[in-house]
């Protein structure tokens, strides 16, 4: 629908390199936990704050996960923070964690806060599963009224028609989805902290149980328990902190057409990331060829190849061919999800992707380190196709 709307000028360029990732932390990722979701977030947050060389009381901003279980008050009371100056949420489901970086950057650049904590954590395995969780989200209200009563209850069922249409239009195959699953599993095996540690092949993927066609079990991410957190600090302060800063060069969020119902989207195969990515790259002042490593939100295998297209690494429809032949592996054209992603490490709504990007750019990638990784990106994807992206450098 044409609204005669004029796009505003690119006003966010001022956020370039105004903030850095200064601390990262994770709990063990498990299937089963006796810790509360709040405790998991606190444990990951304390690890990130210690990594930054800060005291928990130094945190003066917090962006709790938008549909999570901990709120800003929990961090004030657990950490004894005297004067928390900034708290918002980024209600974009799995795009929230990276969208929160944009909000943190703005808060830091405006002088509102100095050290902003981005926590995430949950018992996704031993607590309520995705289908039960999302039904309560306010952003699922429309789908709850018009689609869930028909049986489209879980994200896998709501997202499958995007993949099915992509296959029908472009000839994308389930075996190409499998390439994403197999490569991501290889990376998880290199990581000492991953839920899925058994090698899989394309044939294993093809034999895995059909959940909601075309998505098989191995196309789906792993519900798991744990926590992940990062600290975002102003660039000036970051230079004198404990760890080598990882600079946020560009960051943006993007909302797809028809954001509350995939069904009404003019093109089912285009996500909000298609709007966000050009803005983030312009802010960063770098191009696709400059990206050494990518952490791409992978709630489903298809979501990875669709985002690769939406960012412009290949044309729409060519994502299936792009991911073949180990392109996403270490030494491949675009080393992706070097930690094992949501598909095989843990479903921490992508905060584990932010953690992994910082690790890679610090050179802390251990067995999965991309040699000389200087610039990388991390994306988020959430709800009905919301997108977010951050481009970072060492």
């Amino acid at each position: 629908m044409a609204l005669g709307y004029h796009r505003p000028p690119d006003i966010m360029a001022t956020l370039k390199e105004t903030c850095c990732v200064t601390g990262v932390g994770e709990t063990a990722y498990t299937r089963g936990s006796d810790k509360s979701p709040v405790a998991l977030q606190m444990e990951a947050s304390l690890a990130a704050i210690a990594d930054a060389g800060l005291s928990p009381r130094d945190i003066d901003g917090v962006i709790p996960f938008s549909t999570g279980t901990a709120v800003a008050e929990d961090f004030i009371t657990n950490f004894g923070i005297e004067d928390l100056r900034y708290s918002v949420t980024a209600p974009m489901g799995g795009a929230s964690c990276v969208a929160a970086i944009q909000s943190a950057a703005a808060a830091v650049a405006a002088g509102i806060a100095t050290h902003v904590l981005l926590p995430m954590g949950r018992r996704g395995y031993s607590g309520p599963r995705a289908a039960a969780r999302v039904a309560a989200f306010p952003q699922f209200r429309i789908v709850g009224e018009f689609e869930m009563p028909a049986g489209a209850v879980a994200p896998v069922q709501l997202y499958a028609p995007m993949a099915r249409r992509h296959m029908a239009l472009y000839g994308t195959t389930s075996r190409q989805f499998a390439e994403v699953a197999v490569t991501t599993r290889e990376h998880a095996i290199l990581n000492g902290n991953a839920v899925m540690t058994k090698p899989i092949t394309v044939e294993d993927h093809q034999r895995s149980r059909m959940i909601s066609d075309p998505f098989r079990l191995f196309d789906c991410s792993v519900e798991s328990d744990g926590g992940a957190a990062v600290v975002i600090s102003g660039a000036e302060r970051a230079r004198d902190m404990r760890r080598r800063p990882v600079y946020v060069m560009g960051v943006a969020e993007g909302h797809p057409d028809s954001p509350s119902a995939i069904t009404q989207r003019p093109d089912l195969t285009v996500l909000g990331l298609a709007k966000a990515a050009p803005r983030a790259f312009r802010m960063a002042g770098v191009g696709l060829d400059d990206i050494d490593v990518a952490q791409i939100y992978d709630c489903f295998t298809y979501t990875v190849l669709c985002q690769i297209e939406d960012m412009g690494f290949c044309a729409k429809g060519e994502g299936g061919a792009f991911v073949e032949d180990g392109a996403l592996g270490l030494g491949g054209r675009l080393p992706t999800n070097t930690h094992g992603g949501l598909l095989s490490q843990s479903h921490m709504a992508g905060m584990n992707h932010v953690v992994e990007l910082a690790r890679q750019l610090r050179g802390d990638g251990d067995d999965a380190q991309v040699p000389d990784a200087e610039i990388g990106l991390v994306t988020g994807y959430g709800d009905m196709g919301d997108g977010s992206i951050a481009i970072m450098r060492r």
Partner: protein, 144 residues
Amino acid sequence: MSPPADDRLLPRPTEDSRPFWDALRSHRLDLQTCADCGAVRHYPRPVCPACHSMAVAWTTASGRGAVHSWTVSHQAFHPAFEDRLPIVLATVDLEEGVRMNCRLDGVAPEEIDIGLPVEVAFEDVGEGMTLPCFRPRGVRRGGS
């Protein structure tokens, strides 16, 4: 915390959507239409995104459409659907230019493709609610 599981299955009409559900109860598919510019919109909402008018009308749709995309679900994710597996969920292009995401009955999964002609059917689900669903066009309603 969360409502009883079965509560999530029946639509909860709002002031904006009630005419849609009321029409379904009479086995009629009505779509929200802008009373000023005539643009059809779905799902129901208070403002016309084309001209920003809040003047609402409702027009009865033909009920005819074509498959835009689909999924065949082999897992129910809710007890209410377990005895119906596999469920075919189709995204349908209506002739009026909007889409619906509904169960598609009466077709073998391997026969579904983009463009398959379908028509609306109505399933009374109790508590005064009727859900729209679709069948391949030309297949008579009734029976199982």
